[in-house]
């Protein structure tokens, strides 16, 4: 059972997909460079050459169109944005062309593209560098939208995405890159339509995305010590949305917390709650709660960021509210640390 880090799992997926198919190419600013997108593309250029591991100008809009054009030449491009915020410059090409490319020519064209978008938090990334826009892409018919949490999924989902003939957007959280996980060496694919129950429980359902899954697991551990058994679900894919797995759990627990990396308002948690209601308006025996970014831009100062980005304690707080529990359950661990804007002490910022 080999353990490697999340970023290494992505690297391996890239390498294996490029070995298997000459038409797979990667592009993005700095992709062949010395730091290789947090190590995820490092050294690939030596193996596959500059024509397949492509640097590019800072022309997000134009280069998205160029990448779409490459599919006409038979390529399967993977485009990388170091921050999802930079994709706002490419929104026209992504939404008006890529997402609709197959549909608007009656199925005659295909856009087998993958977009890797990095999201993050903390360390003063600030207003223009810490958004988490999965709700936007999920709102646009034509995209598949993935948020792998584990190293296993990071590899398997990227391999699946590259093989998929529809455009796929993958959100990767910066704070996951150094997290270990069991990852088979051989290539494998992950079903793009299934949430994963990570932790069984009967008392409350916690659905989480990406990095918030780790916080949910922490919360769940603390809650378990106090006799509360949450069921933790790693959503994994936003589109398609595996509502059945969530429904089954909520049917059992009657209670729901959704913890997402994005802004709460008009975000993906709302869709989950609504779908449950449309299936069964009385499935919830308590009010549901949504955890995510509050309704203001991302502040830079650590004193504000600490309040802005939710952590395990916020999940615990919600669970206590919903189940009417004593809030003394709250973990005190967090408070011992001076700074709350790093995933662990090895992280020395800024990126």
């Amino acid at each position: 059972m080999r353990k490697i880090k999340y970023f290494q799992a992505i690297h391996e997926a890239h390498s294996q997909s490029m070995e298997a198919d000459d038409n797979v190419i990667i592009l993005g600013l700095g992709v062949p460079g010395p730091t290789g997108i947090f190590g995820t593309t490092k050294g690939l250029v030596d193996k596959f050459g500059e024509a397949r591991v492509l640097d590019m100008p800072s022309s997000e809009q134009g280069m998205t169109g160029v990448a779409l054009g490459m599919t006409i030449a038979g390529y399967r491009p993977v485009m990388i944005h170091m921050r999802v915020d930079f994709s706002t410059l490419a929104m026209d090409q992504m939404v008006n062309q890529v997402a609709k490319w197959h549909f608007m020519y009656g199925g005659k064209m295909k856009a087998p593209m993958v977009f890797r978008m990095i999201i993050g938090r903390g360390w003063g990334q600030g207003p223009q560098h810490s958004q988490s826009l999965q709700a936007w892409f999920a709102h646009i018919p034509g995209f598949k939208v993935l948020m792998p949490t584990t190293a296993y999924d990071a590899k398997g989902m990227l391999l699946s995405a590259i093989k998929d003939d529809s455009p796929v957007i993958i959100f990767e959280h910066r704070w996951l890159y150094n997290v270990d996980g069991i990852v088979p060496k051989d290539p494998y694919e992950v079903n793009l339509n299934s949430a994963r129950v990570l932790h069984k429980g009967d008392d409350i359902t916690i659905v989480a995305t990406s990095y918030m899954v780790l916080e949910a697991l922490k919360a769940s551990e603390i809650l378990s010590k106090h006799g509360i058994k949450p069921e933790v679900i790693d959503l994994r894919s936003i589109v398609p949305l595996d509502i059945d797995t969530i429904y089954k759990s909520v049917k059992k627990t009657g209670s729901l917390v959704v913890a997402d990396t994005g802004t709460i308002n008009f975000g993906i948690s709302a869709e989950i709650i609504s779908r449950l209601m449309e299936m069964d308006h009385s499935v919830l025996r308590n009010i549901p709660k949504r955890i995510g970014l509050p309704f203001c831009p991302s502040p830079t100062s650590p004193s504000l960021a600490e309040k802005f980005f939710p952590r395990a304690n916020d999940i615990i707080l919600c669970v206590c509210d919903i189940l009417d529990l004593d809030k003394n359950i709250l973990s005190k661990e967090g408070d011992k640390e001076q700074w709350h804007d790093v995933p662990d002490s090895s992280f020395t910022g800024p990126y």
């Binding site: 000459d22 190419i25 050459g49 024509a51 397949r52 590019m56 100008p57 022309s59 809009q61 134009g62 280069m63 998205t64 169109g65 160029v66 990448a67 779409l68 054009g69 490459m70 599919t71 006409i72 030449a73 390529y75 026209d92 090409q93 008006n96 062309q97 197959h102 549909f103 608007m104 020519y105 009656g106 199925g107 005659k108 064209m109 295909k110 087998p112 018919p141 034509g142 598949k144 998929d164 003939d165 529809s166």
Partner: protein, 321 residues
């Protein structure tokens, strides 16, 4: 058939197709925004005269002429305008979403500048021996105001890709004249050299001039010489969108219109061909009749074709695996 005659026929065919669409448009059965290219027929015909089936062509909202000149199926285009299942985009797209892969007409789409980088990417190659396939993308003067145009030029130049950027400068973007949108005395062709791309501005109503200039650019592209930017001056006769004249809107003058009408690309070329004895009244009539027959049968075909089945609405949102 004589090459020049072919050019003439191709222009006349575009003209007659557009006229027929204009005539029937008011029947309100072609229910999609439609941008006519009457008056601008020489550019696509001159350019296409050098293109092979395997070369790629892209366009924007005003794309009928580009599609037809490249050999796109007339039936499939007319059917698309009627929103029929037999349309080139199966009725999903309409006039602004033409596509005929057999003819190498890859895509038109109405967002300004949207297809320019796509054209660039489609002739990218990871092999050292670059294909001699070239890619042509047509756009208007207005589209050059979009940043994406400049981004596409830059990348095409960095990689020396075989792309011909063809700007049809008809002086207007909808009702806005050039000088409220761009520096008055700028040539769009000037933008090429800023990106180290050879550029020419020329008369877009003279099909032979277009042919010559496009030929140079296309040949250079095939020889690995990289991209070119061509600016052809021309003029739109009808309203921005739709089959009517629009002098009543008075954003342009009757004098200007008359001047350009007198520079009709077809009439100019026809006169030349008469003089050269390549064409005469009789042969012209025969060509016209042949085209008319084709057009009538295309319309008949389109009109009697079925609409897409509403049950297929969701098809093509995702590729079926």
């Amino acid at each position: 058939m004589d090459n020049l005659l072919k050019l003439f026929e191709s222009m006349l065919r575009i003209r007659m197709v557009e006229e027929m669409i204009a005539e029937r448009y008011s029947e309100q059965e072609m229910r999609c925004p439609t941008h006519f290219c009457l008056g601008q027929e020489a550019v696509p015909v001159g350019v296409s005269s050098h293109l092979r089936h395997t070369d790629y062509v892209y366009s924007g909202h005003r794309s009928h002429g580009h599609y037809l000149a490249k050999g796109g199926s007339l039936k499939a285009m007319v059917s698309e305008l009627y929103g029929k299942e037999t349309g080139c985009a199966l009725g999903r797209g309409g006039s602004q979403h033409l596509n005929d892969l057999d003819a190498g007409f890859i895509a038109s789409a109405p967002i300004l500048g949207g297809t320019i980088p796509i054209a660039v990417g489609s002739v990218y190659s990871t092999k050292s021996n670059v294909t001699d396939k070239v890619s042509v993308v047509y756009f208007g003067d207005g589209a050059t105001e979009e940043g994406i145009f400049h981004e596409a030029l830059n990348f095409a130049s960095v990689k020396k890709l075989p792309v011909i950027f063809v700007c049809e400068n008809n002086l207007y973007s909808v009702h806005s004249s050039f000088d409220v949108r761009q520096p008055k005395d700028r040539n769009i062709a000037d933008i090429g050299p800023a990106h180290k791309i050879p550029s020419v501005r020329a008369n877009g109503n003279d099909v032979e001039e277009v042919m010559k200039i496009a030929g140079d650019a296309i040949n250079r592209a095939r020889d690995g010489g990289g991209p070119s930017l061509l600016e052809f001056m021309t003029y739109r006769w009808l309203e921005h969108c739709g089959p009517n004249k629009d002098l009543d809107l008075s954003y342009r003058t009757k004098e200007e219109m008359d001047e350009w009408l007198s520079k009709c690309p077809i009439k100019l070329f026809e006169t030349k061909l008469y003089k050269k004895n390549i064409l005469n009244k009789e042969s012209r009539f025969r060509i016209e009749q042949k085209i008319l027959k084709e057009i009538n049968s295309a319309f008949e075909y389109a009109k009697k074709s079925p609409f897409p089945d509403p049950q297929t609405l969701f098809d093509y949102t995702y590729v079926k695996s």
